[in-house]
């Protein structure tokens, strides 16, 4: 799992892994890790689920939809420079963790 890989990689040399994307991994997604990773998302996407301006609401999005969207940004099938850069760096464990976290949020 992500934490173990993190230890193995010796803390500093965390490579940006451009892993091939798969469907949800077999093991349970790591929601706490997802919450940490989501720190980057919630600078723009409101965790309340409110949409302001051109930033779509993603709180409460089902995991499958979240994964599919992020994978299409990573493959550059969907346009948006910010989202392509964000999605492109996550491996499948990280994406699953993020998907689990956002799915767990209850839009207000």
């Amino acid at each position: 799992m992500a934490v173990r890989r993190f230890i193995a990689s010796g803390f500093l040399g965390i490579a940006c892994q451009m892993a091939g994307f798969m469907a949800l991994p077999a093991h349970a997604a790591d929601k706490a890790f997802g919450e940490y990773l989501a720190g980057e998302c919630v600078t723009c996407h409101l965790p309340s689920g409110r949409q302001v301006g051109g930033i779509p609401a993603i709180a409460g999005m089902p995991e499958i939809s979240f994964m599919a969207l992020m994978e299409s940004y990573a493959r550059r099938e969907r346009d948006n420079q910010v989202m392509q850069a964000v999605a492109g760096k996550f491996n499948s464990d990280e994406l699953a963790a993020l998907a689990a976290y956002f799915a767990s949020l209850k839009p207000e």
Partner: protein
């Protein structure tokens, strides 16, 4: 916590101690004490985020105090939109009350006067002493009032900087609105490194927008820049030519040969190339360095900014102190609110793990800076960053392109508006 995760936790803590190699984590001063104390200095983009994330994610296990003199924080970010008439001062002013109450943060509305690093105490101007186990400092920048010949602190009304938002922003707006048709504006742009690399050029766009909209298109804006080139240069210059033909003239150092002097009484700017007399507005954006509190505490190096460990934002000079935002030397990351917010989350995660044993995750950094050229025409620059041993390093950069469709530019501005709502909620709720 399950036995498995506490095992992980110990492994991680040991790993972190070894990699940081500076001090023992888990010493009696920290784990085992009733409630470890975290002090955060500066309630801006970096400090506000750090205080909120440390308090929110540790759910009462830590004592978090935020030291900030103002009751209302006025964001520099989107202050250019106030200059352009797109936003009001109230739209960029935020109070701390809600975030303090919701997250259990103690506010100390005072200046931090001194950091006693040996005793691990922050002394406030009002005399109060705040002991800490970990300190996060995000004081932003100070202006170098000695960097433009003839200009100083006493001249910031005659020649405003508006590089710290608040009364200076209002002053700049009033001065801009008073510029007569045919009047001259001179902007003296800052040398690197400074807060918000595209900021001066977005501001120039807003000056031209306001003047043109008021029918004052015989005005001229001169930008006297000490840099050979600047952020998103081709995009800005293309935008100025398209929206404001003949109104903006940018001059690099090879042409103007430096600012020789300014006279705030007469609105004069003398360069090696030309003298601008009777300017209706001179916007002096001087050189900058880290806020005084970190410099006087010996946390900055000769550059005037603070060296940090790229994996944690920990000061390389004091292991109990984390420095985020504009005051830090953050490698390839620009000095922006987005960067400060991102860095604060890494520092917050590290501080919590050291004081509560919470899990450690790999540092991740991100930034995007949007700039508005005119109605519905915005551009952006940004990227992803990761810690490498020598510095925080850009991995996936991106920037808007010339000749993008009007639709895309409009969508980029809509993102800019949404981002602002997101980041202020991420700091002030």
């Amino acid at each position: 916590m399950s036995p498995m995760s506490s095992l992980n936790r110990r492994a991680l803590l040991t790993g972190l101690g070894a990699s940081a190699g500076v001090f023992a984590i888990g010493s009696s001063a920290v784990i085992g004490q009733a409630k470890p104390r975290v002090v955060v200095i500066g309630g801006g983009a970096g400090g506000g985020t750090a205080a909120r994330y440390i308090a929110k994610d540790s759910a009462g296990a830590l004592n978090v105090t935020l030291v900030e003199p103002s009751r209302q924080f006025v964001t520099c970010f989107h202050s250019n939109l106030v200059v352009g008439g797109y936003k009001q001062m109230a739209d960029i002013s935020h109070s701390y009350e809600k975030m303090a109450a919701a997250n259990g943060i103690t506010m100390a509305h005072d200046m931090a006067a001194r950091i006693d690093r040996d005793r691990k105490v922050v002394m406030l101007a009002g005399g109060q002493a705040l002991p800490y186990d970990r300190l996060v400092v995000s004081p932003g920048i100070d202006l170098r009032y000695d960097s433009v010949p003839g200009w100083g602190r006493e001249h910031e009304t005659a020649m405003p900087h508006a590089w710290k938002a608040g009364p200076q922003t209002t002053l700049l707006v009033n001065r801009l609105n008073a510029v007569p048709n045919g009047g001259v504006i001179v902007m003296i742009a800052p040398p690197n490194p400074y807060r918000c690399p595209p900021g001066p050029y977005e501001r120039v766009s807003m000056f031209a927008h306001v003047l043109k909209k008021a029918g004052k298109d015989r005005c001229k804006i001169f930008v006297i820049d000490p840099k050979e080139n600047f952020s998103k240069q081709a995009l800005f210059q293309e935008g100025w030519d398209r929206h404001y033909p003949g109104m903006v003239e940018w001059l690099g150092p090879k042409i103007h040969e430096g600012v020789k002097s300014v006279d705030p009484k007469t609105g004069t700017v003398v360069t090696g190339f030309e003298t601008y007399k009777d300017a209706a507005l001179v916007n002096v954006i001087p050189a900058q360095f880290a806020g005084e509190i970190v410099r006087s505490a010996g946390l900055a190096n000769a550059s005037g900014y603070c060296p940090i460990d790229p994996a944690s934002m920990r000061s390389t000079i004091d292991a109990n102190i984390f420095i985020v935002g504009d005051a830090s030397i953050a490698g390839d990351m620009p000095k922006s609110a987005f960067s400060a917010n991102s860095q604060a989350k890494v520092a917050a995660m590290t501080v919590r793990s050291e004081l509560t044993g919470s899990r450690v995750f790999p540092a991740r950094y991100t930034n995007t800076c949007w700039s508005l050229l005119n109605d519905d025409d915005a551009i952006k620059v940004g990227g992803q960053f990761e810690p490498r041993p020598d510095k925080i390093t850009s991995t996936v950069p991106f920037v808007s392109q010339l000749r993008e469709s009007a639709d895309l530019r409009k969508q980029t501005q809509a993102e800019n508006i949404g981002w602002y709502a997101g980041i202020v909620a991420d700091i002030f709720t």
